[in-house]
């Protein structure tokens, strides 16, 4: 008996019992769909977060006060803020640091005419926007002259532009921030929401000198932003900054740092780890649901073999070999699980597409997972089809014909 005849035989047998076939493959459908949906969403989320992180500036390093071991609380744990002398020392002592800026920020009420808005205002050096790979789309960026002269100028994000200058040009408009008047010299490129859902365009940047003299009243700050000379210099730049800051902060040999250098790639690494754990967990769930699906198939196939004992007897009587019966029932099981797998792939991708749009992450077809899911569902059919099929193939023709 050839393969085509076997497959069409299996199909007609399954179509004869549509409802039962559909319910039998449900286990495989659900298992495969769940895996594909989670895999697609996981990859989408990873891609989305990765894009956000690289949008922060690829060679970026951040330094915050407080020992790395205490960072979980978020506070500096009483560790001293940084000073501009620290930055001078870094500039001299950290050869692989190319760009450097202080950053000090506070949410402040900002007023333009009758409109006002609470926005995070940050004092930075001109390097800051380069470190974050953030360009100005209208007007200009902050300059060294602005910094030297403590000019009352600022660049604003897109959200601020929309909110405070609706329908009119923001450039050269005047903002009042905390009783300080600032002239808008530039509008920043739109960044959208961050990986953690914050609006990155609801921001105002001003020269650090202006910030420290007119708003903060201190030139101490809680964040050092730096960029390494190149991607492969990030670790060197980090080591150099650490050693300079340890000297400046008089930390003894063997004592722990009272500041932490952070690299956005670490966030990526943590996310990758989380994704990895999630994937392993999902594989476990998938394995269990496919096992359950497979047992469902085996169960129904065993029932089917018993029900169809006389049919098997007739087939044997007209010349079926036991290998024909074996392949007939294995193919039935495989068709069930393969069709279940295909439906599961469709359902899983469909659900992932819908959910990806809903939570606003890119929809990704997990190209490796699709053939694997299909292959595994084929395998489930073979593994769980063999036992019932052997039972059918071993029947004695006469006994099968006389079966009541």
């Amino acid at each position: 008996m050839n393969a085509r005849a076997t497959i069409s035989l299996a199909l007609s047998a399954l179509l004869r019992n549509r409802m039962r076939s559909a319910l039998t493959m449900l286990g495989v459908v659900i298992g495969v769909a769940a895996v594909l949906m989670m895999e697609s969403l996981g990859q989408g989320a990873t891609a989305y977060i990765g894009a956000t992180i690289s949008g922060m500036g690829s060679n970026m390093l951040m330094v915050v006060p407080g020992a790395p071991s205490q960072r979980m609380g978020g506070g500096s744990g009483g560790a001293a803020l940084f000073s501009l002398h620290d930055l001078d020392a870094i500039r001299r002592g950290a050869r692989d640091v190319a760009l450097l800026s202080p950053a000090s920020q506070r949410p402040l009420r900002t007023v333009v005419g009758g409109l006002n808005r609470s926005t995070v205002v940050t004092g930075v050096w001109p390097d800051y926007l380069d470190i974050r790979a953030w360009s100005v789309v209208k007007g200009r960026a902050l300059t060294d002259d602005d910094e030297r002269q403590a000019a009352q100028v600022c660049v604003i994000g897109h959200t601020v532009e929309e909110a405070l200058f609706p329908g009119r040009a923001a450039l050269n408009g005047e903002l009042r921030i905390h009783d300080v008047t600032c002239r808008v010299v530039g509008v920043l490129e739109t960044k959208g929401a961050s990986a953690f859902g914050m609006d990155q365009d609801d921001v105002i940047f001003m020269p650090f000198s202006t910030w420290s003299r007119r708003i903060a009243g201190t030139d101490r700050f809680g964040l050092v932003m730096a960029a390494a000379r190149s991607q492969d210099r990030i670790d060197d730049a980090r080591a150099q900054m650490t050693s300079v800051l340890r000297q400046r902060r008089r930390i003894l040999e063997g004592d722990e740092d009272d500041f932490a250098v952070r690299d956005p790639r670490e966030v990526q690494a943590v996310l990758d780890q989380v994704t990895g754990i999630l994937t392993t967990f999902l594989l476990g769930v998938a394995g269990i649901s496919l096992l359950v699906g497979g047992i469902g198939i085996m169960n129904i196939m065993l029932v089917s073999v018993t029900e169809r004992t006389r049919e098997i007897g007739v087939r044997l009587a007209v010349g079926a070999r036991s290998s024909d019966i074996l392949s007939q029932f294995i193919v039935e099981a495989v068709v069930l699980s393969a069709v279940g797998g295909l439906i599961g792939i469709g359902v899983g991708l469909g659900a992932a597409f819908g959910l990806a749009r809903l939570i606003n992450v890119p929809f990704i077809v997990p190209t490796a997972a699709v053939p694997i899911a299909f292959g595994v569902s084929l395998l489930v059919g073979v593994v769980f089809g063999v036992f019932p099929a052997r039972k059918a193939a071993r029947l004695n023709p006469l006994a099968a014909l006389r079966f009541e």
Partner: protein, 226 residues
């Protein structure tokens, strides 16, 4: 085909049933044999063994000189496919399967392609007078028509031997007569050997040789002169 001291035992120990008990029987090519005897005398068992649906427990069964016990399962399947055609009292058609598919079933296992299967299926149904009923399911056919489908299925692979176990047992006498006519014509026109179990003297009268079973043994074996 020759039985040499063939026995078929069912069960073990005290409960052993000797369905066949040392039977010697030779059947010539082209013969028409009726097997009769009381219920439980071993007729069906004998026919099943003759058709390679079952094997003797003891003794030897030779087909054209070859001992059947030495043949592999696949060879026995091939014999059932090509050499024998079966007709059963209860028709044994596949349910929810068209007459055409039922009739051409043996051809699937003979490796015949779909187009040829269909063509030969049509021809076989026409030969038993069922042209036009190709798409009918068994439950849409009368008993006589179902038995005709079974006859067509037995014929389709041009067998040398037809084994019929009470082919008219479920039919009224008129329909039974028609089926007997059909079977008899296969023997006369095509030279097919027919071995037929029957309770019905009218059916048995169509045969040229009558073998009577009793308690698993042959009680009498007579040739009927036409």
């Amino acid at each position: 085909m020759r039985f040499a001291n063939v026995s078929r035992l069912y069960g073990e120990g005290e409960a052993t049933v000797r369905a066949l008990d040392g039977v010697d029987l030779t059947i010539e090519r082209g013969d028409f044999v009726a097997i009769t005897g009381a219920s439980g005398s071993g007729k069906s068992t004998a026919v099943s063994i003759l058709g390679c649906l079952d094997l003797p427990t003891a003794g030897q069964y030779f087909i054209e000189g070859h001992p059947v016990q030495s043949l592999s399962g696949d060879v026995l399947a091939a014999l059932r496919n090509a050499k024998f055609g079966f007709i059963f009292q209860s028709y044994n058609l596949l349910a929810r399967t068209s007459a055409l598919d039922n009739v051409s079933l043996p051809l699937i296992y003979a490796g015949v392609g779909a187009l040829e299967r269909e063509a030969r299926g049509y021809a076989a149904l026409a030969a038993v007078g069922l042209a036009g009923r190709e798409d009918a399911r068994p439950n849409q056919l009368s008993g006589g028509q179902q038995q005709r489908v079974a006859v067509a299925r037995a014929l389709i692979n041009a067998p040398e031997v037809i084994l019929a176990d009470e082919p008219t047992g479920n039919l009224d006498s008129k329909t039974g007569e028609e089926i007997m006519q059909l079977i008899s014509s296969l023997n006369e026109a095509r030279g097919i050997t027919v071995i037929m179990v029957t309770h019905d003297p009218k059916s048995a009268a169509w045969a040229r040789r009558r073998v009577v079973f009793s308690d698993g043994k042959i009680a009498s074996d007579t040739r009927v002169s036409a």
